[in-house]
């Protein structure tokens, strides 16, 4: 999915205000960028068709709101990138510093930390002897 510059701005705006009609978005945008109400209306419509927004008819106008919160959307996007290649996220096309999905137990991590500290102490001893 590709987002145009205006689409990205409108989506960012809706993440901030949560819900707005085309008129509201146009009014808020009028202060810092040009663009007719029609352009905003068609941008909202495109975002709705891309399933990024949901809409409710209130009176004669649609009220648009984001389907997912920004963080949730980004988290799902990352998850979908790591899922697309294999059901096992560990062999996804991502090369992650630490597992994208697996949550390690504290006991396990503590024991690894203890091993690291032990090794540090051994190296420090060797350095002091030198």
């Amino acid at each position: 999915m590709q987002l145009g510059d205006l689409e990205k701005q409108v989506l960012q705006h809706l993440w901030k205000v949560q819900s707005a009609s085309a008129k509201d978005v146009h009014k808020d945008f009028a202060t810092h960028r040009t663009g007719s109400l029609n352009t905003i209306q068609s941008t909202l419509d495109r975002l709705y068709k891309k399933e990024l927004l949901s809409r409710d008819k209130q009176g004669h106008a649609f009220q648009y709101s984001p389907k997912l919160e920004r963080q949730e959307f980004i988290a799902q996007l990352i998850k979908s990138i790591s899922n697309e290649f294999s059901a096992d996220q560990e062999h996804s096309l991502l090369a992650a510093f630490s597992s994208v999905s697996t949550e390690f137990g504290t006991t396990e991590l503590d024991s690894l930390e203890e091993m690291i500290n032990k090794r540090r102490r051994v190296l420090a001893k060797i350095d002091n002897n030198d």
Binding site: M1, Q2, L3, K8, E69, R70, Q71, E72, F73, I74, A75, Q76, L77, I78, K79, S80, I81, N83, E84, F85, S86, A87, D88, Q89, E90, H91, S92, L93, L94, A95, A96, F97, S98, S99, V100, S101, T102, E103, F104, G105, T106, E108, L109, L112, E113, M115, I116, R119, R120, L123
Partner: protein
């Protein structure tokens, strides 16, 4: 004329296919047995596959098929010692209704299916990463993602990029942050997403368990290579290990904000826990780990035998099915 062409084409496919399948089956059985033995060993004494061995695994069936095709085509029907053993004299007997045709057809369908799947995957990956880039802030070569969840990864098959959560700067020290950056930059320099994509495509014909085993080992190898590139000396190596554990702890303390449950199988979960341990142990170990020469020798024997058996295996199947 057309029939002759189709006959030659399907015969070529069979000469390729028989050693391909023989190598695939033998390697798969060997790898499953090896994995069962491996799980009985401790993490430090386990035999580790080098990246070259993994590539050898993935390429062997294709190599066996191509070599057999080359030997049969270029050594003539019955001249020389090699041609005497790996001879092929079935082309003039072939029929369009034989198992040759059916096998060639089924294999071609699967081949096209996988090629399409991996091409579609490449396009989907490109589009999603473009969207992620648009929602991130670029700072030099790094894209910062505004997210409560800690992310540090390299993505993009054709043009890889580093993505880091913006709050990582505040949760890690300058040195730790630099280690994460160097690690991710190493993935970019090595084109690791492309390596993984190619490995996935090459192992697509292996049984699922075996393919996953090779692919997961490949992921581990890529991570270990990036760990190595992020460290220059023993002190650095310990710092990389410490950062890795700290990062995992941070991730464990902060659960994903998404309501979706993580899609990870028990198999990969177990492998991943083991992989983290192996990465840390490898970084703490002074000794250079020597790669075993056994797998490449075994693979070479399997490939050679599969090529030699091309005509015998063909005759064996002929005794059950219509030529």
């Amino acid at each position: 004329m057309i029939e002759t062409f189709i006959t030659h084409f399907q015969e070529g496919f069979i000469v390729f296919l028989l050693p391909f399948i023989l190598t695939l089956i033998t390697l798969s059985c060997g790898l499953i047995v090896w994995q069962k033995q491996r799980l009985k060993m401790t993490a430090t004494s386990r035999l580790k596959f080098s990246e070259n061995t993994l590539w050898l695994f993935a390429l062997s069936p294709w190599g066996a098929g191509m070599l057999a095709l080359g030997v049969v085509n270029y050594s003539g029907p019955a001249h020389g010692l090699i041609a005497g053993v790996i001879h092929w004299h079935a082309s003039h007997l072939s029929s369009l209704l034989s198992w040759h045709s059916l096998s060639a057809l089924v294999f071609s369908i699967f081949l096209v299916k996988y090629l399409l799947r991996y091409s579609v995957l490449l396009i989907a990956d490109y589009k999603k990463i473009n969207l992620l880039k648009q929602l991130s802030t670029k700072d030099g070569d790094v894209y910062h993602i505004e997210s409560d969840v800690n992310h540090a990864f390299c993505a993009g098959v054709i043009r890889p990029h580093c993505f880091l959560s913006s709050n990582l700067k505040y949760q890690l020290s300058k040195k730790e942050y630099d280690i994460v950056l160097r690690h991710e930059q190493a993935h970019v320099d090595r084109y690791d997403p492309l390596r993984k994509w190619l490995m996935g495509m090459l192992t697509a014909f292996f049984p699922l368990t075996v393919a996953r085993l090779i692919q997961l080992n490949m992921s581990l190898v890529c991570e270990q290579a990036a760990d190595g590139m992020a460290s220059n000396n023993n002190h650095d190596k310990i710092d990389v290990a410490a950062t890795l554990v700290k990062f995992s702890k941070l991730k464990a303390s902060k659960k994903s904000s998404t309501k979706q449950s993580p899609i990870t199988s028990d198999f990969s979960l177990a492998f991943d826990h083991d992989a983290l341990r192996q990465r840390v142990l490898c970084l703490l170990d002074d000794k250079e780990t020597k790669n075993s020469t056994i797998p490449p020798i075994v693979i070479t024997i399997i490939v050679s035998t599969s090529i030699i058996l091309v005509d015998s295996s063909h005759h064996l199947i002929d005794s059950f099915l219509l030529h």
